[in-house]
């Protein structure tokens, strides 16, 4: 299979749609995960219809946030050389979106699972002259590394790009279902506000 070459365009319609769906996937996934977690909490206090309402508002906000992330990601894509094909550009931006989303999830899981850093790390930070700076530098290094490695394969290897394209195909399918749920959420919110 031959991978497409650049035709000089930054994006085409299909590429933009794929990128949007890739941006929407982690945001909707996280919203659904937490909304399901909240359902029993809301039902306990009010009722099932209100719990569906809370999840519906969440899905609408997730859709709006997806649009914002998509705009930022596609603008970032303009910084990538025009000599690269649209597929490679979209694959790279998808990797970027997925990696930062994963790290954003990790930062919340820290509270969700009520975990704390091992004592040895906390002690080391406490004895450091610049604990906050050190912490941020460590996180930046981790994030950058987890982005750079898959990005390298996408950019340098046709096989890497193919793997990413396959992943994008599968994820976008699921993402379309999430977008449908956002639409259902919008209908529910409209009914609730009539």
């Amino acid at each position: 299979m031959t991978l497409p070459r650049s035709n000089g365009n930054y994006y085409h319609r299909q590429g933009l749609l794929s990128l949007f769906l890739m941006c929407a996937f982690p945001l909707h996934f996280w919203t659904l995960l937490l909304a399901f977690r909240d359902i029993s909490w809301v039902i306990e206090r009010t009722n099932v219809w209100d719990a569906i309402g809370v999840a519906s508002y969440g899905m609408i906000y997730a859709f709006i946030e997806s649009l914002l992330v998509f705009i930022v990601a596609s603008l970032l894509g303009l910084l990538i050389s025009r000599s690269w094909s649209v597929e490679r550009r979209v694959a790279l931006l998808s990797v970027f979106t997925l990696v930062i989303s994963l790290w954003a999830m990790v930062s919340q899981l820290y509270f969700l699972w009520e975990v704390s850093l091992p004592d040895s790390i906390l002690q080391a930070l406490a004895h450091n002259a610049h604990p906050v700076r050190t912490m941020y530098m460590t996180l930046l290094t981790l994030t950058a590394t987890t982005f750079v490695i898959p990005a390298y394969f996408v950019l340098q290897s046709d096989k890497g790009l193919k793997v990413m394209r396959d992943l994008v195909e599968r994820i976008t399918l699921l993402s379309m279902f999430y977008i449908f749920l956002s639409f259902v959420g919008l209908v529910i919110v409209m009914i609730r506000n009539v």
Binding site: T31, L34, V54, E65, Q108, N193
Partner: protein, 507 residues
């Protein structure tokens, strides 16, 4: 903490202008009638008030003012959370009559006109609440209220205030949805992965000038970005002084409801003071809070009460110095209490122990110079008929409460029964049959009746009964349901008969 009116407040007030133009109507038709102010502090338990015997000095200002008030020492809410408790207070009816059972619920449409605002037609009626749940009821009664002050007017500025405007018909759930989506502060996690990270610093920047005043964080009221009680009190005081008379004002402030965020002045005031709460057994409905957590929560709650006490004292002094109290009946009360014992913290609980249902009631009447203690058991439903009586108005047939002593023209029925209920899983148009708690007080006895809770069913029961003599055992430590089986059975029979009677129209 006085604040000058800003542009936003001005615009909102401008919307109320046509109502203010109606002022002369009230002045001409109702000259000479007394004003009424009802101040409700949410989740304010009588159990934690030093005026009522609590060993921590939580209410020095209220205690001082009480020397000129009628103090009700055994006063009970209609329910153990805002919807039911507030509905009983505002309608003067028991929960099975008003049927506001669910959180964010309304009173049944058929009895919606039976409310305090509707019967004070000769008064200019103003109302405000920080509490989204109470606001559902005020909005339901809005046609009977001349000036329903917008909730967000006395909240701090917020980037999320569009939610109230955009989703006005579903404000409560829209606010919950927004909070769960954007606010990381409470739990550390939110539905939003990126915007939530940006929102908090932006919001913090909006309120940076007052943040240092609240070491535990700025108090928030149900899914908003916070409020400052002092600012609300000042605004309401100034509004009342300028309001058309006679007026009826209902003001329902959120403190000391959780989150317990007192000011710097009272922060750690009771820390390590050696306070030892009474040891109590774990409840069947225990949330498994350990006793250290309960003590910490109690201490934070008590420190928050100090803040409430100070602000109420300040409000009283402002109203008094304006001369308004010379013709005004001022009522201080709550919608329900709060519990920090038996493995339970807060009031989201099936239980109906004293701390979660016994609330303060003080009535300040013009000209009173001495304290009068009333030890009769009284209920939130008594406030509506009492205020009507005190303002020379007729009491409607539907009102279920009694005129409070010492105003009652007849001696109170010694057989009188007071009911408190939680039935938040029940619908207003169906009989009360699932997960409900009812307590009935008669003479010195208080019977607790819990039915059809999953926690009970786990133990193979579908109901639980306990009986206490609250005169000799106010901490409810000795369950008499076995040793005084005859009394327990008789009271239970009475309670079940009453419940069956109230359920009948819905079967």
């Amino acid at each position: 903490m006085r604040q000058t009116i800003n542009r936003r407040d001005f615009l909102k007030l401008a919307g109320l202008l046509p109502l203010s133009l109606a002022a002369p109507r009230f002045m001409q038709t109702s000259l000479g009638k007394k004003n009424v102010i009802i101040i409700v502090f949410d989740a304010f338990s009588a159990y934690n008030i030093s005026l009522y015997g609590y060993s921590r000095a939580t209410t020095p200002n209220i205690a001082e003012l009480a020397e000129r008030a009628i103090v009700y020492n055994n006063h009970y809410a209609g329910g153990n959370f805002t919807t039911t408790g507030t509905a009983s207070l505002l309608t003067g009816t028991n929960p099975w009559t008003h049927r506001a059972f669910e959180l964010f619920g309304e009173v049944a449409p058929a009895v919606a006109a039976h409310n305090i605002f509707n019967v004070f037609k000769d008064h200019y009626r103003l109302a405000y609440t920080h509490n989204l749940v109470a606001n559902v009821l005020l909005k339901q009664f809005r046609n009977d209220i001349d000036e329903l002050i917008p909730r967000e007017l006395l909240l701090l500025g917020s980037y999320g205030s569009f939610v109230q405007t955009l989703f006005g018909n579903d404000e409560d759930i829209a606010s919950v949805g927004w909070t769960r989506n954007i606010k990381l502060e409470e739990t550390g996690y939110a539905y939003s992965l990126f915007l939530s990270q940006l929102y908090q610093p932006l919001q913090d920047n909006l309120v940076k000038n007052i943040r240092s005043q609240f070491p535990r964080g700025i108090p928030t009221a149900n899914y908003d970005d916070g409020f400052v009680l002092g600012q609300g009190i000042d605004w309401i005081s100034e509004r009342l002084i300028a309001a058309p008379q006679p007026f009826l004002g209902y003001f329902h402030f959120l403190p000391p409801h959780s989150p317990y965020r007192t000011t710097l002045e009272f922060y750690k005031k009771f820390n390590n003071d050696g306070f030892e709460p009474a040891e109590k057994p774990l409840s069947v409905f225990s949330q498994k809070q350990d006793k250290h957590d309960l003590l910490r929560r109690r201490t934070e709650y008590d420190e928050y009460i100090l803040h409430v006490d100070k602000e109420f004292g300040r409000m009283y002094n402002d109203l008094e110095s304006s001369g308004l109290l010379e013709n005004t009946i001022l009522v201080l009360t709550s919608d329900h209490g709060e519990l920090q014992e038996r493995g339970i913290s807060g009031h989201i609980t099936a239980t109906l122990y004293e701390p979660v249902i016994r609330i303060p009631l003080l009535i300040f009447e013009p000209g009173r110079k001495t304290r009068l203690d009333i030890n009769t058991t009284t209920s939130a439903i008594d406030i509506l008929p009492t205020l009507l009586h005190l303002t020379d108005q007729a009491i409607p047939d539907w009102a279920e409460g009694a005129i409070l002593p010492p105003f009652a023209p007849i001696v109170q029925d010694p057989d009188r029964k007071i009911y408190v209920m939680r039935a938040h899983k029940n619908k207003h148009d169906q009989p009360i049959a699932t997960s409900a708690s009812i307590t009935m007080m008669k003479e010195q006895y208080k019977i607790h009746y819990y039915m059809n809770y999953p926690d009970l069913e786990k133990n193979g029961q579908n109901e639980l009964i306990s009986l206490f003599d609250v005169q000799t055992d106010p901490e409810e430590l000795v369950d008499l349901s076995i040793s005084h089986k005859k009394i327990a059975n008789a009271l239970l029979e009475e309670l079940k008969t009453k419940l069956a009677e109230e359920n009948k129209p819905f079967l």
